[in-house]
C-alpha cells in the first residue's frame, strides 16, 4: 500500500496563530463487520492511529476505531510559535506506518 496522504495547511503564519490542518489518508478502513459473497467475515484492516507533531512535540493524535469512514479524514488545529516542521503518521493494523512532513514559516 503506497497511497499518499493529502495534507492541507498554511505555508506561513504569524507567531501565536492557531492554524487549521486537514489530512486525508486513502485507505479502505475495512471494518471487520462485512462479509464476502461466501458469507465469510472480511478481516478488519484499518488505520488505527494518527499522530501529528511539530518540531518533535506532540500536537494532536487520534486512536481510530472501525467506525471511522474509509479514507480517514481528520481536521484539527495547532498553535504555532516558531517556524518548523509538522510530521504526521498513520499506523495500519498490519503495522505499516506512513508518514508525511510539511514545513511552515512563522514570522
Amino acid at each position: 500500500m503506497a497511497e499518499k496522504p493529502r495534507l492541507k495547511l498554511p505555508k506561513e503564519a504569524k507567531k501565536g496563530d492557531v492554524i487549521e490542518i486537514k489530512t486525508l489518508m486513502p485507505h479502505i478502513m475495512e471494518s471487520g463487520q462485512r462479509k464476502d459473497k461466501d458469507g465469510k467475515t472480511i478481516p478488519r484492516k484499518i488505520i488505527n492511529k494518527f499522530t501529528a507533531e511539530f518540531n518533535g512535540k506532540p500536537v494532536f493524535s487520534a486512536n481510530l476505531d472501525p467506525a471511522i469512514a474509509a479514507n480517514p479524514y481528520l481536521q484539527f488545529s495547532a498553535k504555532v510559535e516558531e517556524s518548523g516542521t509538522f510530521k504526521f503518521t498513520w499506523t495500519d493494523d498490519d503495522g505499516t506506518v506512513i508518514s508525511a512532513e510539511e514545513k511552515i514559516t512563522v514570522s
Partner: protein, 151 residues
C-alpha cells in the same frame, strides 16, 4: 416503540426483572450498555458535566457510510489547564468506539472533525477530559437512512 432513556431502561431492568418489555430491541440495549461501559472506563466512574461540548452532525444522515462529525470543547488550552482527551462513542453501532482524540496545549483549540460510520439511527456521545481531571459531555441523535457497517 416508546424511546426509553438509558437511565429509565436500567431502572426498569433493576426494578422489575419479571417485567417483559414487548418489542424492545435487545441488540440496541446491549450496544447502549457497551457504550455506557466504555464511557465509564474513560471517566473512571466520574460523572461528566453536560456542558462545554458542541457536536456538529447532520440531523438525518442518508448514507451511514460517511457522516461528517465536528466537535469542539469550549475550554481553555493553556499549559496547565487544557482538554487532554476526547472520547467519541456511537450507542447503536456493533462496536461503540469511534475514536479517541488526544490534544495538547499546542493544539490551540480543542476541536476536531472527521467522518464516521453509523449502522443505524442512534445517539453519538462525546466525553472530554481536561488535564485537571474534569469531565464534560454532550450527545446528539442522528437519524440514519441507510446503515454503514454491514456489507
Amino acid at each position: 416503540m416508546r424511546q426509553l432513556s438509558r437511565r429509565a431502561a436500567l431502572a426498569l431492568g433493576a426494578g422489575s426483572a419479571a417485567l417483559t418489555i414487548v418489542g424492545w430491541d435487545e441488540g440496541a440495549l446491549a450496544a447502549a450498555k457497551e457504550a455506557a461501559d466504555e464511557i465509564a472506563k474513560f471517566t473512571g466512574g466520574k460523572t461528566a458535566a453536560k456542558e462545554k461540548v458542541s457536536i456538529e452532525l447532520p440531523e438525518i444522515a442518508e448514507n451511514g457510510n460517511t457522516v461528517p462529525l465536528a466537535l469542539s470543547i469550549d475550554a481553555p488550552m493553556t499549559a496547565d489547564n487544557y482538554v487532554s482527551e476526547v472520547l467519541v462513542v456511537a450507542e447503536g453501532n456493533p462496536n461503540p468506539g469511534v475514536a479517541t482524540f488526544h490534544f495538547s496545549p499546542m493544539s490551540g483549540k480543542a476541536e476536531a472533525s472527521t467522518r464516521i460510520r453509523l449502522a443505524t439511527t442512534q445517539n453519538i456521545v462525546v466525553v472530554a477530559k481536561t488535564s485537571k481531571g474534569e469531565f464534560f459531555s454532550g450527545q446528539k441523535l442522528v437519524k440514519v437512512t441507510i446503515g454503514g457497517c454491514g456489507g
